[in-house]
């Protein structure tokens, strides 16, 4: 072996450098939802997952929020959305799950330790996973427990725009449409209103989204056992919003290209990744600070215990570079449970350490992990 033969390593870092993440095991908890928010208003972001919150920046301690009902392989906690529900200046957590069939919120004891008060909002039926979209553009997200019928829960706010601890409840389009596994929000027809997307089609929003009788159902596709959320995004930058959807309980990740011919709308299915399964949660963020969105996702480990196709395949956390319809998968983490992470049913992306790069908080039945993003490796190497 000659020295020149083995000295090629500068080439490792040529070309687009992948982002450099460091994985931090936060805890062995196996809740499938998590979020990042400043629980105690100390200016430092904390982590919430299931029954606990973990104060930043170390996340070494954990404080009990409440007891979450376990059920077989699951906990009845399919979202941990931070929202100041009662307007007291502290974020509360909006949750709900399949088994308890109840939309609820946990009242933050103003950043103090001690268990939080649980408030049931409504008995909605099995919640596949809460989704949060600001459909009336008032700056406050509405809550969509992914149920049938299709509910909207709008936070009641006072004159100052602060939450009052109560929600107004609406049922969209009682005449039909919606339902099935999968849900998304976005402006499908570019009319400036936020439509609702389901596995079998989409509900077109009227000008006033609370005019619930006048949502129009368009049965235009069949996405199967679709991810939550289904994303609405102009993938190919042709001016028409497309759909990105994962198979929540099977193999596959696709985008559906929207085509318009006059008033006629058609959808062309494109494969993104057929080799991975249980893409239950998918999100769009600019994770590499290049000004374009990346698709961030991963496996929901044991989404249906070990019954889904591919459930025994390795876990993974990925982001996809999107270039006008071309999706390039970049692997952040990959391997069996115990060695690698998936992303659960409700993961969170945010710059938790405020270093300018968005991090990925990945809950799941394999444990709770934080992937700290340090950007491309080309900077700061020793």
């Amino acid at each position: 072996m000659t020295l020149t033969a083995c000295m090629m390593l500068a080439a490792v870092l040529t070309g687009p450098a992948p982002l450099h993440f460091e994985r931090q095991a936060i805890d062995h908890v196996t809740y499938e939802a998590a979020s990042i928010c400043d629980v105690n208003n100390d200016g430092i972001k904390d982590i919430v997952s299931g029954e606990y919150w973990f104060p930043g920046p170390e996340f070494k301690a954990k404080h009990k929020i409440t007891t979450i009902m376990p059920s077989d392989d699951y906990y009845d906690d399919f979202s941990d959305y931070p929202m100041d529900v009662n307007g007291d200046g502290f974020v509360d957590i909006v949750s709900g799950g399949w088994f308890g069939q109840t939309l609820r919120w946990f009242e933050n004891p103003k950043g103090q330790t001690g268990e939080w008060t649980v408030h049931d909002v409504a008995k909605t039926g099995n919640i596949e996973r809460n989704t949060f979209c600001d459909i009336d553009n008032d700056g406050v997200a509405e809550v969509f427990p992914v149920t049938s019928p299709v509910y909207i829960f709008k936070l009641k706010c006072d004159a100052g725009g602060k939450g009052t601890g109560a929600f107004d409840q609406f049922i969209v389009n009682p005449k039909g449409g919606g339902g099935g596994h999968g849900f998304g929000c976005g402006d499908i027809n570019s009319d400036g209103h936020t439509d609702l997307i389901f596995s079998g089609g989409w509900l077109e929003s009227p000008a006033n989204p609370y005019d619930v009788e006048n949502w129009a159902w368009h049965k235009e596709f069949d996405l199967g056992s679709a991810s939550v959320p289904i994303l609405v995004f102009d993938v190919n930058k042709d001016g028409l919003n497309d759909i990105i959807v994962g198979a929540a309980h099977d193999y596959g990740l696709w985008w559906y290209e929207q085509k318009k011919d006059g008033d006629a709308r058609t959808w062309i299915k494109h494969d993104i990744d057929l080799g991975r399964s249980q893409y239950h949660d998918i999100q769009l963020h600019d994770i590499d600070n290049d000004g374009d969105m990346e698709l961030i996702t991963g496996k929901r480990y044991r989404a249906h215990a070990f019954h889904d196709p591919g459930s025994k395949d390795p876990l993974g956390v990925y982001y996809f570079e999107i270039n006008k319809g071309d999706f390039q998968r970049v692997t952040i983490d990959y391997g069996p449970a115990g060695q690698a992470s998936g992303v659960g049913i409700y993961f969170w992306v945010d710059d938790i350490d405020q270093n300018g790069w968005k991090d990925v908080l990945a809950p799941g039945k394999e444990g709770l992990y934080l992937f700290r993003n340090f950007g491309p490796l080309t900077s700061g190497s020793k």
Binding site: M8, L9, A11, P18, E22, G275, I332, L377
Partner: protein, 703 residues
């Protein structure tokens, strides 16, 4: 010198002797002063020395250690070695929970042997024990001081001791010793730090990657690689670039270790894969290329397959094959599996054989067709590999391929097939894969060449009957043999045949099976094989599961069945009765138990010292002699067609067929009346009808 006993006793005697010695020593130990035992250890007499070593109490290390320390410096190897052995025991003792304080004290006591006045021999001896006992946080200064000793041997022992100690202070001491150490010792220290995996002096280590000595640079690269920190990548790259013939191996190894650690620490998967790829692409040593391939296989996904396959295009392809196969074995995920399968046809035979084993171990139906095809190969090596793989796959679909080898192969093949089928059947049985286990046992029966194996296979067929088994039984057994099959097997086969759409065959077999059930045990066995269908078959099996019932009525055991409550034996189902101020009427009750066990406590009342009545009508086509078989908790009296059949005034638990009493049935309708008494506790009974010879009697219920 150690005692060398001559073993001439047999094992039992030795055991007894040791027990006796231990007991006597235990009794003796507390009586012997510690100083006497210390003297014994330094004795020239091996027996005395050995006894002293065994008797020296380990309960109080703080007292014993100082007395033993002088012996470590003995010129007599037998003495210092024995003292060291006892000290080692004591050191281990104080590392147990609850000895924290003693651990520190003993450490301090042992450290005194590192005093400059002590000989190097003594220091080296105690360095063997110190790593056992030095607690986290303890000042390792006396050991660290030896790292700069003029004697290289002592320096190395001190380095070893600190590495094994593994505390932060130990790592810090090693780090601090780097500056003054000669290059070869610097390298040794850096490798030790690599193995200790402490983060405290990485910045210091980093400076040694710029050492003038290539060995030191390579060792420093190792001491950084374990972190998996990609920021060290340029440094490790530089170390590798500047390595010489003798250090390139270590420098490249550090590079691969960095890649491994990147994957394990998480979040740097792409970069780690690129490192493996870079190593693989270049014309490096076989060991490192194999290492890179192993890394790609262990941690990679389907995307690494092209890189691995490209590696096989080189001149050393044959030498790389074992590493490639191991990597393929490690690769996980369905997509990787699909691509491996696609690669298979174009691989050389030497790899194909290995791939068959991999396909088997993946235990994925995806590979079954390939394995089953290989099982039909003309090449015995492929058949053999396929057979092993099919067995490893533990898939029911593998039975087909295994059998194919058995039919086409040699006698040796057949013997292996039998063994594989046996293993497969056992696995599928444990997994409760009814169809798969049934098939495997059936094929095992066909291949069995001994009565014992045939019996084992038949037991499996009995447990997991499948329609094909019926044909085997018909083909392989004559009428007499079939007649001797346990009725449960026949029933199970009958049910399976019926479920498989072979109703006529099933019906014939059912009739045969029914004639064979002649005991409560056989009936219970039949229930197991019939499963949920057993209840629906109750009338075919003579078990009465539906009754009209009334009660409870007061009952006194002393009066047995003498009190008439429902005008028995002449029952009117429309009548009502008054008992304990309540009006009682007949009601329909049925049981979910295929054996007909019916609970009166649940259906009538939870009460003591009561009785209740059950009445049923059945129809048979012809008059016949029968047996009425009953069990009850507690007493029971039965009338058939108003004639008393049995009367048991007892206090007992229910057991099926406790009584077997003759009776006569008329052609057409017949009545059965039961009075069941309750003293206390459970209250139930069961009743079935058999032919006079004990075979089951089929009847038709009459509403």
């Amino acid at each position: 010198m150690f005692l060398q006993p001559t073993w001439k006793m047999n094992t039992v005697n030795i055991g007894l002797c040791i027990s006796a010695i231990v007991c006597s020593l235990c009794a003796f130990a507390s009586a012997v002063p510690l100083d006497t035992l210390i003297q014994g250890i330094s004795s020239a007499d091996p027996k005395t020395q050995c006894e002293a070593r065994q008797l020296l109490p380990r309960e109080n290390p703080i007292e014993a250690v100082p007395k033993l320390l002088p012996l470590v410096g003995s010129d007599n190897p037998s003495v210092w070695w024995t003292a060291l052995a006892v000290l080692s025991d004591l050191a281990n003792k104080v590392t147990q929970p609850g000895y924290n304080e003693a651990q520190g004290i003993v450490t301090t006591q042992l450290m005194t042997l590192l005093d400059p006045a002590q000989s190097n021999d003594v220091k080296i001896r105690v360095l063997r024990i110190l790593p056992i006992v030095i607690p986290e946080g303890y000042d390792v200064g006396p050991v660290a001081a030896l790292l700069t000793d003029a004697d290289p041997g002592l320096r190395e022992k001190a380095r070893e001791a600190l590495e094994v100690t593994g505390t932060l202070h130990a790592a810090e001491a090693l780090c601090n010793a780097l500056a003054a150490a000669p290059p070869d010792f610097q390298a040794a220290i850096l490798f030790a730090l690599a193995r200790m995996e402490k983060t405290l002096c990485l910045e210091t280590v980093l400076t040694y990657t710029r050492s003038k000595d290539a060995t030191v640079r390579a060792a420093a690269a190792h001491a950084l690689a374990w972190t998996g920190n990609p920021e060290y990548l340029p440094t490790l790259e530089s170390v590798w670039k500047s390595s010489d013939e003798t250090t390139a191996f270590d420098a490249c190894d550090a590079y691969l270790r960095l890649a491994d650690a990147m994957v394990v620490s998480g979040g740097k998967w792409e970069l780690a894969m690129s490192l493996y790829r870079q190593v693989l692409k270049k014309d490096l040593s076989l060991v490192h290329r194999s290492g890179a391939i192993a890394g790609l296989g262990r941690y990679g996904d389907e995307s690494v397959l092209d890189d691995i396959m490209n590696a096989l295009k080189g001149a050393d392809a044959r030498e790389l094959e074992p590493a490639v196969l191991a990597a393929f074995d490690s690769l996980q995920g369905a997509e990787a599996g699909k691509q491996l399968l696609a690669l298979y046809p174009n691989l050389p035979d030497s790899m194909k054989l290995g791939m068959l084993g991999i396909f088997g171990r993946k235990q994925d139906p995806l590979f079954l067709d390939t394995l089953n095809s290989a099982a039909k190969s003309d090449d015995s090596a492929f058949r053999k590999a396929a057979l092993a793989a099919l067995g490893d796959s533990q898939l029911p679909g593998a039975v087909q391929g295994i059998v194919a080898i058995g039919h086409s192969g040699s006698a040796e093949d057949k013997a292996a097939v039998t063994e594989t089928l046996k293993r497969m059947a056992s696995v599928l049985r444990a997994r409760d894969d009814k169809q798969g286990a049934g098939k495997a046992f059936l094929e095992l029966y066909r291949f069995a060449d001994t009565d014992e194996l045939r019996q084992e296979a038949m037991d499996g067929i009995k447990q997991f009957p499948i329609p094909e088994a019926f044909d085997v039984i018909m083909q392989t057994m004559n009428e007499e043999e079939r007649a001797n099959l346990p009725p449960a097997i026949l029933l199970g086969l009958a049910k399976t045949l019926n479920d498989a759409g072979r109703a006529e065959d099933g019906k014939k077999l059912l009739e045969t099976a029914l004639t064979r059930i002649d005991s409560a045990e056989a009936l219970q066995e039949a229930f197991k094989y019939l499963g949920p269908d057993a209840l629906g078959m109750a009338p075919r099996l003579g078990v009465i599961t539906a009754w009209h019932m009334v009660g409870p009525f007061p009952w006194d055991m002393n009066k047995a069945f003498s009190v008439i409550n429902v005008n028995e034996p002449n029952v009117d189902l429309n009548a009502s009765y008054t008992s304990d101020g309540k009006t009682l009427t007949w009601k329909k009750v049925s049981t979910g138990d295929p054996g007909g066990l019916i609970d009166l406590a649940g259906n009538l009342a939870q009460a003591d010292h009561v009785c209740g009545y059950a009445f049923a009508k059945i129809s048979v086509p012809e008059a016949c002699d029968i047996q009425v078989r009953t069990g009850s908790d507690d007493g029971i009296k039965v009338w058939v067609n108003r004639q008393v059949v049995t009367e048991q005034n007892v206090d007992r638990p229910t057991k099926m067929d406790s009584e077997q009493n003759p009776a006569k049935l008329n052609a057409g309708e017949n009545s059965i009346l039961v009075e069941c008494t309750q003293n206390a506790g459970g209250w139930n009974f069961c009743l079935r009808l058999t032919k006079a010879d004990g075979a089951v009697l089929s009847y038709t219920p009459v509403e």
